[in-house]
Amino acid sequence: MINKQVNSVHDAVANILDGATVMIGGFGEAGSPIELIHALIDHGAKDLTVVNNNTGSGHVGLAALIENKRVAKMICSFPRTANSTVFPELYKKGEIELELVPQGTLAERIRAGGAGVPAFYTATSVGTPLAEGKEVRNINGRDYVLEYGLTADFSLIKCLKADRYGNLIYNKTARNFAPIMAMAGKTTIVQTREYVDAGEIDPEIVVTPGIFVDQVVTVANPLHESELVAAEEVYP
């Protein structure tokens, strides 16, 4: 029997080692696997390289992971957001590294990593400071920069429903980076609001096929980051 279910968020993140590269789904609050992130804080792994579009808000979730000094480097497109103070402070003090990547290039690099494409060309960033030091190639009369695929030791994502094989569907714009991070993670760990048996998700509507998923943990009623931020909650 195939069974990817694990009993708790703590069990799910237990194998994440110091120094690991961890992709974390979500665009702002939408899709952020906040219970998995909090479990990762409890777990204690440090010197992490974290890939996420942002750097979290307030003092919970990804911001708390950063605030607790677990993250050596962020790879993201937009490290500033409303209520985002943790990353800027550490960055200004030189205590955290930043690799700034245009959002579409970030998405394509993650997808490439998951698809076994080691590198590709894109017109994005040509002629800007973010192309400095990168190989530029003219193809059919237009300049493109060479970008490399990104993979991760672990991907932490959130979904709406998962079946026993790890097939996933999502809710609205919470889908965002999760399907491509599931592809790019050597071990992909999913928190799902609902867990069902194989066959209960129509094969035509599966967004992430189970082949990309290693562990599934049920979090039926996930916390809402924005509510925690509004209440000025601090984790842990």
Partner: protein, 216 residues
């Protein structure tokens, strides 16, 4: 001071930009004033709004009580989805952008140069936290890039300039600029006035522009 009492206000700038969006266009809206464009689709037209976090068919803000924190736009504001919308993941979303499938993008700007160069992501201040988001992808991939911006900064510095001093977002990418004072096209001969806001004359706009503005 004058800029605040004459010319178009923010809503009117968005409304003016919306006039130029044809029926059936696929349109991406940047954060800030561009987000307001979604409200001003002219009568008789259907426009499909794309938000790069994974939605085609974005609608305006939800009614109270109908908010879903997992239905947001690129500015992380709560939005709705129209009937006929589609959700997709980030790589597919930026395939639409990079692959030239989006017809028009309306963005904010710090500076636009007369050759169409755009600077809208960084002042180049070494103390600032750099943040780029999807701006560079949009200007590299969308067919037509329009800008909505105040004509000048709060300090009265022109934002339409001969050459950008801030780090670029893209090279030669801007087609049209909607400011509080005027609509201006980027042409092979530089900036060209298209339309003046009510109560604004050419000299007034030229005076507040960092390089030659060609008459309409």
């Amino acid at each position: 001071m004058n800029e605040q009492v004459i010319g178009w206000n923010r809503e009117q700038m968005a409304e003016r930009a919306a006039q130029d969006i044809p029926n059936g266009a696929y349109v991406n809206l940047g954060i800030g004033i561009p987000e307001k464009v979604v409200r001003y689709v002219p009568e008789g037209r259907e426009v499909i709004y794309h938000t790069e976090n994974g939605l085609l068919g974005m609608g305006d803000a939800p009614e109270p009580g109908k908010e879903d924190p997992e239905l947001i736009n690129a500015g992380k504001k709560l939005v709705t989805a129209i009937p006929g919308a589609a959700y997709f993941h980030h790589a597919d979303s930026f395939s639409m952008i990079r692959g030239n499938h989006i017809d028009i993008c309306v963005l904010g700007a710090m500076q636009v140069a007369e050759n169409g160069d755009l600077a809208n992501w960084s002042t180049g201040n070494p103390d600032a936290i750099p943040a780029v988001g999807g701006a560079m992808d949009l200007v590299a991939g969308v067919k037509t890039i329009n800008v909505i911006t105040q004509h000048c900064t709060r300090n009265g510095e022109p934002k339409l300039v001969s050459k950008c001093t801030f780090p670029l977002t893209g090279v030669g990418v801007v087609s049209r600029i909607y400011t509080d004072l005027a609509v201006v096209d980027v042409t092979p001969d530089g900036f060209k006035l298209v339309e003046l806001a009510p109560g604004v004359d050419f000299d007034y706009v030229q005076e507040r522009t960092g390089c030659t503005l060609n008459a309409a």
